[in-house]
């Protein structure tokens, strides 16, 4: 068990290293002098500035050494200085991350509750109008890109009805909740669809298993069968999917924060890419990728707890 966790963590580290290397080395793929590229645009490119970039990135040393230093600095939360803001990148990130985290957390709560609920309902009432309604609605919401959904929500609930504020991330718990409701909903809509479908599918599959019929043949009450045999067995894929979707949402904030004008790391990334602020872009990418890997690993570790067959395979693996 511990060995398997250890192995997962080692895998996490390896993937993280590889991904960070890709992020770091990307600048070498850019046409031209990496220093010029890193200096962010050609506006007011003084020799001093180039020199500063060379120093910050240790551009005179071999690639691997540079990477090592960069990584070392990153580990010490020294992510360099933003070219656009002139501020420490780590400060920029730390002031924006809470918004993003709150947004993702809120969206996660929304899609888990709504998605799993709808999925279970559809599966239990399979073939009925409830099922059709759930399947129909989710097909629809899954097909609306989050930014379009976001804009529609803004237009309707923000502008027309004025129920929700459409800017800023609010203060205090209630304020944050109020401010983030629309963006979280916009992000969650697609996810609700995914989760509802996965839940429904997993429940239907779990319900088709022989042991469910066996339980029914033994005269167990239906609600017990659904709870202990169908839902319980469907949890694996559902939890995995929830984890994956949550992890992916970190990146999904790129669009949503832009739509709602939220200052999180997503909009920071878009701004940084547009203004060639590469140190910031690198740092945000690294943060998002790390978050993603972390969550997916966590899900991976949780999965065997839900399905002991996997545990057996893993711990012997």
């Amino acid at each position: 068990m511990f060995a398997s966790i250890g192995r997962r963590l080692a895998g996490l580290l390896a993937t993280l290293l590889a991904a960070s290397f890709v992020i770091f080395a990307a600048v070498y793929a850019a046409p031209g002098d990496p220093a010029v590229f890193l200096a962010g645009g050609r506006d007011k490119l003084t020799p001093e500035r180039l020199a500063a970039v060379r120093e910050q990135y240790h551009l005179d040393e071999p690639l691997v050494v540079q990477y090592g230093r960069w990584l070392w600095d990153c580990l010490h939360l020294d992510l360099g200085r933003s070219f656009q803001y002139g501020d420490q990148v780590s400060d920029l990130l730390s002031s924006r991350f809470p918004t993003t985290l709150a947004l993702v957390g809120y969206a996660t709560v929304l899609f888990v509750v709504l998605g799993v609920g709808a999925g279970v309902l559809a599966a239990v009432r399979r073939g009925s109008w409830v099922d059709s309604a759930v399947v129909g609605t989710t097909t629809l919401t899954a097909s609306v890109p989050s930014f379009v959904g976001g804009i529609a929500l803004v237009a309707f609930f923000g502008v027309r009805l004025g129920w929700f504020p459409v800017t800023g991330s609010g203060e205090g718990f209630a304020g944050t909740l109020h401010h983030l409701t629309l963006p979280a909903l916009a992000m969650a809509l697609g996810a609700v669809a995914v989760i509802a479908r996965v839940t429904r599918q997993a429940m239907v599959e779990a319900g088709a298993a022989d042991h469910v019929e066996v339980a029914r043949a033994a005269g167990l009450p239906e609600h017990q069968i659904i709870r202990r045999h169908v839902l319980r067995n469907a949890l694996g894929p559902v939890v995995t999917m929830c984890g994956l979707v949550t992890a992916g949402m970190l990146a999904g904030t790129v669009a949503i924060e832009t739509v709602f004008g939220l200052s999180g790391i997503g909009s920071l990334l878009v701004g940084a890419v547009n203004s060639h602020d590469f140190p910031v872009a690198q740092a945000v990418l690294l943060l998002m990728v790390a978050g993603y890997i972390l969550v997916t690993t966590l899900v991976d570790l949780v999965h065997p707890l839900l399905d002991p067959r996997l545990k057996a395979m893993r711990s012997s693996a």
Partner: protein, 523 residues
Amino acid sequence: SGATTGASTSGTEAADLTLIPTTARATGSVAAVNWLLEDEPDSLDLDTQGGSAGRTVLGNVCERLYQLQPDMSVRPSLVRQAARPDATHLVLTLRDDVTFHDGSRMTADDVLFSLKRHAEPEMEQSDEFGNVSAMRKTGDHEITITFKQPDALFTKALAGDAGLVYNREQVEKAGEDFGTPGQSDACSGPYELSGWKSGDSITLTRADDYWGEQPLTGKVVFRWADDSAMVNALATGAADGTYADNIGTAAALRGKKGLDEHFGPSTSTLALIPTERGGLADPDIRKALSLALDRSGIAKSGYGGLVEPWATPVGSGAWGYAKDAFAAAQKQLTDAPAKPDAQDLAKAKELVKNAKKAPAEPIVIGTDSSQGRMVIANAVRAALTQIGLKGQIKTVPAAQYGEFYGDKEARADIDVLVADWYISKSDPFGFYDNGLSDSANNWVGFKSPEYDAKVAEGLRTLDDAKRAELAIDVQRRFADAAVWIPVAQMPTALVLDDKLTGPPASMAYLYYPWAAQLGAKKG
């Protein structure tokens, strides 16, 4: 749902707007106001990153040697008195009662340090010091500046960012971090910077031991939002006011309950700037384009009728003196009609037909994709089609758009830039030096020795009336050559909760402690 989803663009014509420099005086105090900016300032060190967001904030925090007044005139501020012993010397006598926010007293050393910092080549304001040959401390409270030749605009520059006075000790201590979140300001002024939560807000609080008059408003919290969010925030009362950088914001909020809108003079214009690429190298083609451009259409479609078709590249806010003369002269320019009539079009086509270097390739119009600029770009394309030429639009993300102004390479594949331009000085000459043969902003390569001479003379001429005469002459030459193609002048738009009043409505807000005037209508 039917035909109602299109916007009802109320037919506000710019001509209806009367530009009033300031709002009624406030009498009541206010604990705090929420103010909106179009964007988070990149930095609060205006020497390294200038921008209107930063200026809007710092106008209240950092005082300058001179001060731009709401009516766009300039008056001494941290300078008690100025003297010009001869045409090439300026002696500034400083106030001795000024304290910085950390309590220390402003000294001549601080002033000299600040001026020298502004003058460093990589700093934003360095070009203002191009004429300066020496800056010296000549007394405990005295600085003497020596010019290579007489400079009529220098004191006006000192009302802008070139006149900011920093507390030397604090700036040096902060080093590279100066101007970033978490640092304090190093200034004197009615407000002090009490917090900058990166990505969230900037807070100013009333400076208790301010050497001047105490403001009515205790705290100003700045947040930022893009256009639509800004409109919503103001409409719902989440914010108390803004200087709408994008005039469309003001257009969208017109007539909203609970809000007042004030429009004041600005130097700002919308213009087309032909570039080095050469599609518009021929002045006749430029003039033809100018003649064919539907300026009032642009004003209506792109800016809700809040901008005014304009024939010069400087807004009326630049008329810090001799206003009437300038106004009359502006009316005489006919090459930039508000709405081209048949005659204009015929003339334009004629010009194209006879042009020496009619472009074979489509003319590339550079812009970002913001609504107003896209409308201009589209209008330019339409105008070009009308006069028998081809246009093509190239857009870049908003964040890259700024590069067009400063970076020749970024402009390399566009022929004309859809530009917003303002000058900080309330003097047309502050603009016309852009037409000098050696100016970095003379992209199209306009060369005219007479023009150069007249500008040089104007810049040397300290007498306002004489300078105005020269300016009008230069203005005509610039228009004749269509070095730039003016589109419209853009007023400053102040959107304010209708319980508040006080701040100026003119472009002075960028350099003037506007929040210090802000207060409730009734006390």
